[in-house]
C-alpha cells in the first residue's frame, strides 16, 4: 500500500474526495512522520494539536459538502509567515518569543482553502543564507545522502526546513519565500519543485521582511501540478500590500492541458558561469533536448548582465534588510537586553539578538547606504537592476521561456562553505537575475548526480505568465520521469 505521506497533493485531494481516507488519518500519518524525523530539524515548531483540530474540522466540512480547494491537505509553513497565536521567529533569537496577533495574507488564504497546519519550518535567520546553517534553531539536514560520501549535507536555504519537510514526506506541501533563490535553490538541493511567482503575485503582508523589493512567497511541493494547485490558493490581490498586483489569478492547474509545441525556449550562454558543475551543464543540455523533442523551439539568447546580478543583489538586499530589521530594537516586542542607557540597550539587544550572518548583512547594507557611498554602491546596483530587467524584457520579445540550471552545484556538505562567504553567495548566481527582474521562475528536479544527489533545472517566464512556466515545467518533469525520493537512502 502507498504511504499516505508519499502522496502528492493532487492524489491526496482525490483520495479524500473518494473517502479512501480522512483528513484526520492523513494528518496523523504526517504527525507520526514528523516525530520520527526530528533529526532533520526541519520543523522549529510542531503544531500537532492544531493540525488535528484543523483536520477534524475539514472532515466535518467535507461531510457537509462545503470544501475548499485544498481541504484537509496537511502543509507546513516557513517560520517567516506570521501565524496568529502561533509563535513566529524568523529563526532569530531576537524574535524568540514573538506570538503575532495576526495571520499573514498568504497563510490566511491557505487556511481559507482548507489546509491543515502541521507546524512552522526552519530557515536561515531572517531568510539570510543559502544553506540553512544560520538558523538560531540550528541547521537543517538534507534528507538526501551522497552515495560516495558520508558527509551530512545542507538542504539549501533559506527555505531549507520547508524543502526538507516536503522531500522527506513530513508534509504534502510547504510555503517558502524567495528573495534571491531561497525557494528554488533548496528545492533543487532536496529534489522537489520550488516556485517563485512574479513579484506582486502573493501578498507580502504578514511575512517578516528581508528585502522588500525582492521577497516573494511561493509553493514548495513534490510535483509541478501540486505547485500549480498550491499557488492558486496562495496568490491574489491584497489591498494591504501596495505592491500587490490586481492581475487575475488563473486556475494554474489548467495550464497543463496545452502542449509546449511551438513554445520558444531561450538558452542564455551567459549562464554557463565559472565554477558550474560539469554534471549540471550536461543536465542542462539534456533538458534542452527534452524540450526540443516535445516540439519546443530552442533559441540562443544573450543575457549579458547575468554576471552583474549577484554583486548587485548583494548590495540591494542587504541595504533593504538593514532598514527592514531596524524595527527589531526590543522596545515594542521581541527580546530586550536591558542596559544602563537606551543606546546600550539598543546595541546589546541587537548585537545579542542577531546571528553573525544577519549582522554582516546589516553592516554591509548600512555601509552602502551611508553618506558618501550611496551613489557608488546602492544607486549603481539599482541601475544594474534596471539593465537586467530590460535585458529580460528584450529576451521575452523573442522567447516564451528561458531554461537554465537552478544551482551551480548539488547539495554540499555542512560547514563546507562556512569560511568562504563569496563561495556561499555564489550559490545564488543562477537564481538572482530573475529575482532582480521580479520574474516568475521555477526549479524542477530533473536528474541525479553521479553521487546520487538531486539536480534541478530552472525555468523563467514573462511577468505574470506563470501558466507558461508551469506548462514547460511539467514537460521537463515528464521527460525526466522524476520519481526519486530520499527515503531509499534514509529509511
Amino acid at each position: 500500500m502507498v504511504l499516505l505521506t508519499d502522496l502528492t497533493i493532487a492524489e491526496a485531494r482525490d483520495g479524500l474526495a473518494r473517502k479512501d481516507f480522512s483528513s484526520k488519518e492523513l494528518t496523523e500519518a504526517h504527525i507520526r512522520a514528523i516525530e520520527s524525523a526530528r533529526a532533520f530539524n526541519a520543523y522549529v515548531l510542531e503544531t500537532p494539536d492544531r493540525a488535528i483540530e484543523d483536520a477534524v474540522a475539514s472532515d466535518k466540512r467535507r461531510a457537509k459538502g462545503e470544501i475548499g480547494a485544498l481541504d484537509g491537505i496537511p502543509i507546513a509553513v516557513k517560520d517567516i509567515f506570521c501565524t496568529k497565536g502561533i509563535r513566529t521567529t524568523a529563526c532569530s533569537k531576537i524574535l524568540a518569543e514573538f506570538v503575532p496577533p495576526y495571520e499573514s495574507f498568504v497563510t490566511q488564504k491557505l487556511r481559507q482553502s482548507g489546509t491543515v497546519l502541521l507546524g512552522k519550518t526552519n530557515l536561515d535567520e531572517f531568510a539570510m543564507g543559502s544553506s540553512n546553517e544560520t538558523s538560531a534553531f540550528g541547521p537543517v539536514l538534507n534528507p538526501w545522502k551522497s552515495s560516495i560520501d558520508t558527509a551530512k549535507l545542507v538542504p539549501g536555504g533559506s527555505s531549507g526546513g520547508s524543502a526538507c519537510a516536503v522531500a522527506a514526506g513530513l508534509c504534502l506541501g510547504a510555503t517558502g519565500t524567495d528573495t534571491g533563490g531561497s525557494i528554488r535553490q533548496p528545492a533543487a538541493f532536496c529534489g522537489i519543485v520550488g516556485m517563485k511567482p512574479t513579484y506582486g503575485r502573493c501578498s507580502r503582508w504578514g511575512i517578516v521582511a528581508f528585502a522588500s523589493s525582492l521577497d516573494q512567497a511561493g509553493p514548495m511541493t513534490r510535483t509541478v501540478q501540486d505547485s500549480a494547485i498550491m499557488l492558486s490558493a496562495m496568490a491574489g490581490f491584497d489591498h494591504n500590500d501596495s505592491t500587490s498586483s490586481r492581475q487575475i489569478v488563473p486556475n494554474f492547474e489548467s495550464s497543463f492541458e496545452k502542449s509546449i509545441k511551438g513554445v520558444r525556449i531561450g538558452i542564455p550562454d551567459e549562464y554557463r558561469v565559472e565554477g558550474i558543475d560539469p554534471e549540471i551543464n550536461e543536465l542542462w543540455e539534456t533538458g534542452i533536448q527534452w524540450l526540443k523533442q516535445q516540439g519546443a523551439e530552442i533559441c540562443s539568447i544573450s543575457l549579458s548582465q547575468t554576471q552583474n546580478a549577484l554583486p548587485a543583489y548583494y548590495i540591494i538586499a542587504p541595504a533593504e534588510a538593514s532598514s527592514n530589521l531596524s524595527r527589531y530594537d526590543g522596545m515594542r516586542y521581541g527580546s530586550r537586553v536591558s542596559d544602563v542607557s537606551l543606546t546600550k540597550t539598543y546595541s546589546k539587544t541587537r548585537g545579542g539578538g542577531f546571528g553573525p550572518e544577519v549582522v554582516r548583512r546589516i553592516l554591509v547594507g548600512t555601509y552602502v547606504l551611508s553618506a558618501g557611498y550611496y551613489d557608488a554602491y546602492y544607486l549603481k546596483a539599482q541601475k544594474i537592476r534596471r539593465l537586467i530587467s530590460e535585458e529580460f524584457n528584450n529576451a521575452f520579445s523573442d522567447v516564451d521561456a528561458i531554461l537554465v540550471p537552478t544551482s551551480p552545484t548539488p547539495a554540499f556538505a555542512k560547514g563546507e562553505k562556512e569560511n568562504d562567504l563569496i563561495a556561499m553567495y555564489l550559490n545564488d548566481v543562477l537564481t538572482v537575475p530573475a529575482s532582480l527582474a521580479g520574474l516568475p521562475a521555477i526549479s524542477v528536479p530533473a536528474g541525479l548526480s553521479k553521487s546520487g544527489l538531486p539536480l534541478g533545472l530552472q525555468l523563467i517566464t514573462r511577468s505574470f505568465d506563470e501558466e507558461t512556466l508551469f506548462r514547460v515545467a511539467q514537460s521537463i518533469e515528464n521527460s525526466a520521469g522524476w520519481h526519486h525520493r530520499p527515503s531509499k537512502f534514509m529509511f
Partner: protein, 482 residues
C-alpha cells in the same frame, strides 16, 4: 528687532523655517488608525503603526490631496512624480526604525508667499519644497524615574513639512511668515493650525552675518510651538551668535532647544554620532504618480485664500487695511465677522465685534468659536442698533447679558426696557432740566467751548440711564443752547 547693532558692524539675522503641519485627515498616513486628539495611550495604533513584523504601508489619498492643495495655494510647482524615502534612525517613539518621508522627489516643489516685511514693503518668501511624512509617537519622560513611556497614537499621523528659503531677516518677519502660512492652511483646510497641540510647529534655522557677506553658520532651534516663542527664540539666538562672533569665536552648527521659561535657547545633548540618515526609496511603496487633470481639478476647487479675502475686505467692505489684516490672518475672526457683515454696515460690524466679541474671548481666554453668542444672534443685536432701537453702548451691555443668559437681544431689550429714547418731547424735558442747573457750562458754551457739548450729552445719558439716542440728543442740545 530688525537690525542687530553690533559693536563693530551692522549685522543681519538670516532665518529659514521648516514648518511641520499636521494634515487634516480622519486616518493616518499609511494606516487606518484614527488621528483624533486626546485618546488614551496606544488606543489609536494599528499593527502597522507599531511596526509589527510583516506590516506594510498603504498611502492615504486625502493626505495627498491636502498637500497638493497646499502647494497650489502657495503657487508652487506640483511634481506629478514623487518618491517616498526612508529616513533611518533609532528612537523609541519611531517604531519602524525609520520615518517614511520624501527626500529627493517631494510632491510639492518651489513656491512663494508674499508677506509684509519690516520696511513695510511686500515681498516674496521662497518656499523650497513641501513634502509628506509620518509623525513619530510621543515619549513621556517624567512619569517614571527610570523609564520613558511611549505612546504611539501620534505615530504615523500625516505631516507636511514646509521648508522655506533663508529669506527672512527678523523675528517679526518670521512671525508674519508663520501667520500667513497658518492662515493659508486654515483657509484651505489642510491643517487646523493649532500650535498648542503641536499640529503646527516650527524648526527655525538662524544665522547672523555682516550685511552683504555670505551666509554664516546656522543653528537649528527645534519644535517651537507658538509665535511668541518663535520671536523670543530668534531674538535670543541671534544675539547669542552675535556675541560669540564679536568675541572672536565661531558659532558651532548644532541643534538647539528653546526653553519657554527662561526665554533662552540651549544646546541639545550632543549626539553620540553624526547623523547619517541613509535615505533610500522605500521599497514597500512605488513612486507616486499624479495626473495633471487631478491637479487641475483641485486647483479649480480651491476656496478663497487670505490675500483674496484681504482685498475684498478692504475694497468691497471698506475696512481699513489694519483691521482687515487682523481679521484675515486670524481666521476665527474672519469666520465670525463675515456672516454678520454680509448685508450690514461692515464697518459698524467690525467695530462692534472687535470691541464686544473679540474683547470677550480675550478677557476669558477662550477661542472666538467658543464665545457663547453666535454670529447670527450677534447680527440681530447689530440690527437693533441700525434700527435706532438701542445705541452702541447699550448694545455692548446687552451682548454681555446675551453671553451670560443665552437670551436673544430683542428679549433682553424688552425685559429690561432698554429701548432707547428718541422721542423729542420726552428728551426736551430732560435737556431743559439739565440746562437749568448748569449755568457755568452754558456760559462756557456761549464763550465758544464746543467740546462742552460732550459733557451735556453725558449728563443726559446719566439721567436717561444711557437710553437716550445720542444723535437726537446732540441735535436738540445745539438747538436749545443756541
Amino acid at each position: 528687532m530688525s537690525k542687530l547693532e553690533g559693536k563693530t558692524w551692522t549685522w543681519e539675522t538670516v532665518i529659514g523655517l521648516e514648518i511641520h503641519a499636521q494634515i487634516t485627515t480622519k486616518s493616518k498616513l499609511f494606516s487606518g488608525a484614527s488621528t483624533k486628539f486626546g485618546a488614551l495611550p496606544n488606543t489609536q495604533v494599528t499593527l502597522v503603526d507599531v511596526a509589527m513584523p510583516g506590516m506594510l504601508p498603504v498611502l492615504n489619498e486625502m493626505a495627498v490631496e491636502q498637500i497638493v492643495r497646499t502647494g497650489l495655494a502657495i503657487n508652487a510647482e506640483i511634481n506629478l512624480y514623487s518618491v517616498f524615502d526612508r529616513k533611518n534612525y533609532f528612537y523609541p517613539d519611531l517604531p519602524q526604525g525609520y520615518q517614511i518621508s520624501q527626500f529627493s522627489d517631494p510632491i510639492v516643489g518651489k513656491g512663494e508667499i508674499e508677506i509684509k516685511m519690516d520696511d513695510g514693503e511686500k515681498r516674496g518668501v521662497g518656499i523650497t519644497r513641501i513634502h509628506l511624512e509620518q509623525d513619530a509617537g510621543k515619549s513621556i519622560h517624567d512619569m517614571d524615574p527610570s523609564f520613558t513611556y511611549v505612546d504611539l497614537n501620534r505615530s504615523g499621523v500625516p505631516l507636511m513639512e514646509i521648508v522655506s528659503e533663508p529669506d527672512l531677516r527678523s523675528s517679526a518677519e518670521a512671525a508674519a511668515y508663520v501667520r500667513k502660512i497658518r492662515a493659508i492652511l486654515q483657509y484651505i483646510g489642510s491643517c487646523d493650525g493649532n500650535m498648542e497641540r503641536g499640529n503646527l510647529r516650527c524648526d527655525v534655522n538662524v544665522s547672523v552675518r555682516r550685511k552683504g557677506d555670505p551666509l554664516g553658520t546656522r543653528c537649528e532651534i527645534k519644535n517651537v510651538n507658538s509665535i511668541r516663542f518663535l520671536k523670543q527664540a530668534i531674538d535670543y539666538e541671534a544675539n547669542r551668535q552675535l556675541n560669540i562672533i564679536e568675541n572672536g569665536d565661531k558659532v558651532t552648527q548644532e541643534t538647539r532647544l528653546f526653553d519657554s521659561v527662561t526665554g533662552k535657547t540651549r544646546s541639545m545633548r550632543s549626539k553620540e554620532e553624526a547623523h547619517d540618515y541613509r535615505y533610500f526609496p522605500d521599497p514597500d511603496l512605488l513612486p507616486l504618480q499624479l495626473k495633471k487633470s487631478y491637479v487641475d481639478r483641485l486647483s479649480a476647487e480651491l476656496p478663497e485664500l487670505p490675500d483674496q479675502k484681504l482685498l475684498r475686505f478692504v475694497n468691497e467692505l471698506g475696512l481699513s487695511l489694519d483691521v482687515a489684516e487682523e481679521f484675515v490672518f486670524e481666521k476665527e475672526k474672519a469666520d465670525y465677522f463675515e456672516p454678520i457683515a454680509t448685508g450690514r454696515d461692515a464697518k459698524l460690524v467690525a467695530n462692534m465685534v472687535r470691541k464686544d466679541v473679540f474683547g470677550y474671548a480675550n478677557f476669558h481666554s477662550i477661542n472666538i468659536s467658543d464665545v457663547p453668542v453666535t454670529p447670527q444672534k450677534y447680527g440681530e443685536l447689530i440690527d437693533l442698533i441700525v434700527e435706532g432701537d438701542i445705541n452702541n453702548r447699550i448694545a455692548s451691555e446687552i451682548f454681555i447679558l446675551m453671553a451670560k443668559t443665552g437670551k436673544d437681544a430683542e428679549v433682553i431689550v424688552q425685559e429690561k426696557g432698554l429701548r432707547q429714547l428718541s422721542d423729542t418731547n420726552e428728551l426736551e424735558v430732560v435737556i431743559e432740566k439739565v440746562i437749568e442747573v448748569s449755568e457755568k457750562q452754558v456760559a462756557q458754551y456761549k464763550n465758544g467751548n464746543q467740546k462742552i457739548i460732550g459733557w451735556f450729552v453725558g449728563q443726559i445719558m446719566q439721567k436717561t440711564k444711557g437710553q437716550a439716542n445720542p444723535k437726537v440728543v446732540n441735535a436738540l442740545l445745539r438747538k436749545k443752547l443756541n
